[in-house]
């Protein structure tokens, strides 16, 4: 194993630069290091001004998503030795505005997530005395995969539709909407339909499928979207056959 590895890191200072540039750093190559460790090495030992987001360091918080050699990755879950023998290019997540170095601005995602109403909606509440809303393992299984989303936005960086159409609500928001639609305790599917069965919702998706490929939690947003397309189409057919339903 080589002793060091070259990292090309995006640098961008809004006060100084008109557009981002790449800066090359040499970092020690350690078998147990992930890309995030290399970035922290740079920040601690070489250039303290390097700016990036991270928190849990264990693939749970979803903060450290970046483009690694052109692919959206959680840098805490991407080993450095995988890139041995070549330079590693670390860039901010694609399609989001960059505020500094590797930090992106994700307000657009947060706004869109809210439109998908990713929370339990009840039309009728049970009285407290009646106890909790029980769920069988099978009922849990129908939506569990979609509930694993950590909002890391890697799927947005993999989705060219989001890059080309700023209005598209995006993969994670749609997967999370489907997570609640499929929850046996939820009664909000009709409310969500307005945002989901829309040209900016599921019908905006051209099924590139890369959102599913890059998802570090195996959520399968592409699957959620296609399933919802089928549901929305069936709903439309039913409304034609039985108007008023």
């Amino acid at each position: 194993m080589a002793e060091t590895i070259q990292l090309e890191v995006t640098r961008y200072s809004p006060e100084r630069d008109a557009k981002p540039t790449l800066e090359r750093f040499e970092v020690p190559m350690r078998p147990e290091w992930v890309i995030l460790d290399a970035l922290n090495y740079i920040k601690d030992k070489v250039d303290g001004s390097l700016t990036f987001r991270w928190s849990c360091r264990m693939g749970v918080c979803g903060s450290c998503g970046m483009m690694v050699n052109g692919e959206p990755k959680l840098t805490c879950a991407t080993f450095l030795h995988k890139y041995e023998g070549k330079a590693v290019r670390v860039e901010p997540l694609r399609y989001f505005p960059v505020v500094r170095d590797l930090v992106t601005e994700i307000s657009d995602f947060m706004r869109k997530l809210k439109r998908a109403k990713p929370w339990l909606i009840r039309r009728t509440e049970k009285a407290l005395a009646e106890g909790e809303y029980l769920q069988t393992p099978e009922q849990l299984d129908t939506y569990k995969q979609f509930s694993m989303c950590i909002n890391c936005t890697l799927c947005y960086a993999a989705c060219p539709v989001y890059g080309l159409d700023a209005e598209f609500i995006g993969p994670a928001a749609l997967a999370l909407a489907q997570r609640y639609n499929l929850d046996s305790r939820d009664q909000g599917a009709e409310e969500r339909m307005l945002a989901l069965a829309h040209p900016d919702g599921v019908w905006g998706c051209t099924f590139v499928g890369e959102c599913t490929s890059v998802c570090p939690k195996h959520v399968d947003p592409a699957g959620a979207i296609q399933q919802y397309k089928l549901k929305a189409a069936m709903h439309w057919v039913k409304s034609l056959l039985k108007p008023g339903t």
């Binding site: 809004p14 393992p137 299984d141 890059g163 080309l164 051209t206 399968d220």
Partner: protein, 143 residues
Amino acid sequence: MNPESPNPLPHYTEYHPRWYRRPVSTYWWLGSWPYVRFILRELSSLAVAYFVGLTLMQIYGLSQGAQAYAELQEWLRQPAVLGLNSLAFLFAVFHTYTWFNAAPKAMAVRMGGKRVPEWAVAAPHYAAWMAASAFVLWFLLRR
């Protein structure tokens, strides 16, 4: 942009950081096989439309009598048309393959409380495709 400032950068907007938005190239799909495959898949729908047009043309040729149909058949035997049809056929096969692989994503079939694996949803599609193709072959090659 502040014209009095020697620095050509715009000033900060209050409560809003200045940011850089990277433009998306027209050729965003080049350089990554999954994206190239996606573009090829989208293009393959043209091949499907082409075959629909060709079938309609043949039906029209038939309706115009034996002579017109024979001329159409002759035109279809030209090497350039054969080449185009072969290319369109490859694209149509690719289109079908991607379509059948997409089916299990859209159809979350559940049996016995568990989701049926993707291959089990795709398999009947392929079986139906093979059966239909075998029937067409038998129909064309029978004496």
